[in-house]
Each structure stands twice: as C-alpha cells, then as structure tokens.
Symmetry: C2
Amino acid sequence: MSTTGSSLMGEWRQLLARHARVSEALERELERHHRLSVTEFEALRHLAESDDNGCRLQQLVDDVHMSQSALSRLIGRLADEGLVERRSCAEDRRGIFAVITDEGRRRLAEATPTHEAVLERTLR
Amino acid sequence: MSTTGSSLMGEWRQLLARHARVSEALERELERHHRLSVTEFEALRHLAESDDNGCRLQQLVDDVHMSQSALSRLIGRLADEGLVERRSCAEDRRGIFAVITDEGRRRLAEATPTHEAVLERTLR
DNA sequence: GCACTATACATGCATGCGCATACAATGCCA
DNA sequence: TGGCATTGTATGCGCATGCATGTATAGTGC
C-alpha cells in the first residue's frame, strides 16, 4: 500500500527503495571484503577508465555525484592509501590530475567481482 | 560513453545519476523554502499516513531508509521543533510512538507542493 | 605591467550518519 | 521466582559530507 506505482510519488519511493537496497549492500560488502567505500570504488573505476594521464578533479566531480570538497578529500584518502597519485598539471598549475596507481588497479580488480555480484543479487 | 545501458553496471550508473539529480534538488528546495531535509520530509509523510496513534519507531525504520540510530535522532530533531510528539507505549513500555502534531501537518502540507514540483521537474 | 575577476583545489567547521554499546523492559524456561 | 537471552530505543564516538571560505593560479581590460 505504500507504492502507488503510477504517480510521481510512487515512482520516487521505488527509486529510493531500490537505491537504498543496492547501495547498502554494496557499502557493506565492499567495506567488509576490500576496505573500499562505494564512492571510493566509483572514483577508482572512473580513473581506471580515463586515459593514462588520469583525470582532472574538476572533471571527476561531474562523473562521481559528490561535492568538490568531498571529492578533494576522497582523492586525499585514496592517495594516502597509495591507490591514486596526485600530479599537478603543467599547462594550468591550478589543476590537479588524479592518476590511478598499479596498486589502485589491483584493488579495483579485486573488488570488481564483489561489486558485480552484489548488483546481480540486489538490482533486480 | 559512460552509460552502457544494457549491462548491470550501466543500469546502476543510471540509477545513481537519477537518484543524485532528484535528491540534490529536493534537498536544496526543501531546505531553502521549508527548512526540512529530505529524510525529515519522508518521516513526516509516513507519520501523516499512519493512523492517529502514530507509529512505532521500529516500524518507521523499515519505511524510511535509515539506521535505527539515525531515525532516533531524526525524531528527536522533529520533536524539538514541535512537529512530532514522542509517546511511550502502554502495552510495551520499551516502545515509543511518534505522532505527528498539527504543526507538523501544517509544515508537511506547506512543503508537499514544493516536493511534487521538484519531482515533476527532475524525475523524468 | 597592474588591478580585477574567475577558476581549481584545499580546509575549517558544523552536521548527520552508522556502528557499537548502554540501558530499560519484556519473554522464556527451569 | 530468578536468571538470561531478546527486543526497543538512546547515546558516545569517529567519519564523510556540504557549505563557506582561503589560497594559488589564470585570464582580461586598461
């Protein structure tokens, strides 16, 4: 009785429920097995997909759904763990490239099957 | 190029993007115009829909997507603002009923058009 | 070259969250 | 009835977040 189905409200509730179900499971499993949060995983994946020069933080903000400050600290944490390197940009010295390291690729590769398994299990 | 579309991964990314788009807009507008967070609005709405005896916190946890501790504090904030009353339960004195107040119904009624307008604008 | 504005990232601060735990009330079983 | 696990809620704590702001660099008009 809580899902009207056709109304906007019902659709939004379904989206909320689905998002909560999947992201809670992802958070739990990724944290338990790989010590990664969902946002950390997402950032690593985007970095792995970008070319080898890495990615301007500016650009990552658009991909990962997160404030600029949150992203800055996220990259900081990943850098502290050695999963990412910060490289300052020669052409525009305000800019910072985040580049995934080999260790970062390794951790991402380890975590990806877990991620997929959770999606398989919870998304439908 | 970031949305594969058919894969689980693509579907999950779409869900993330949609959720972020809607909830960021909701958060902003509800906060700006009615000083309510999205979770506060959701809780009020659930309480308004439940019968007049209110709702056990325990039960609300299942409806709102939130930990028990977060809900306890959320109800605390709403109670501080006079939008909700805590009533202890006679049959089981561990239990707490949260009951929406008239003021709570008023605030909810004020905020609902904003909520609907944002859904209309961002959900599709 | 000099002021002024805009952009990119970092950081202080307040807040909400989840986890673990504390506490109170209940149920159960000997 | 007495002990013990269970359930419902509150709270201490650490952490990630967003907002506002700070700092450095870039661009632009004069």
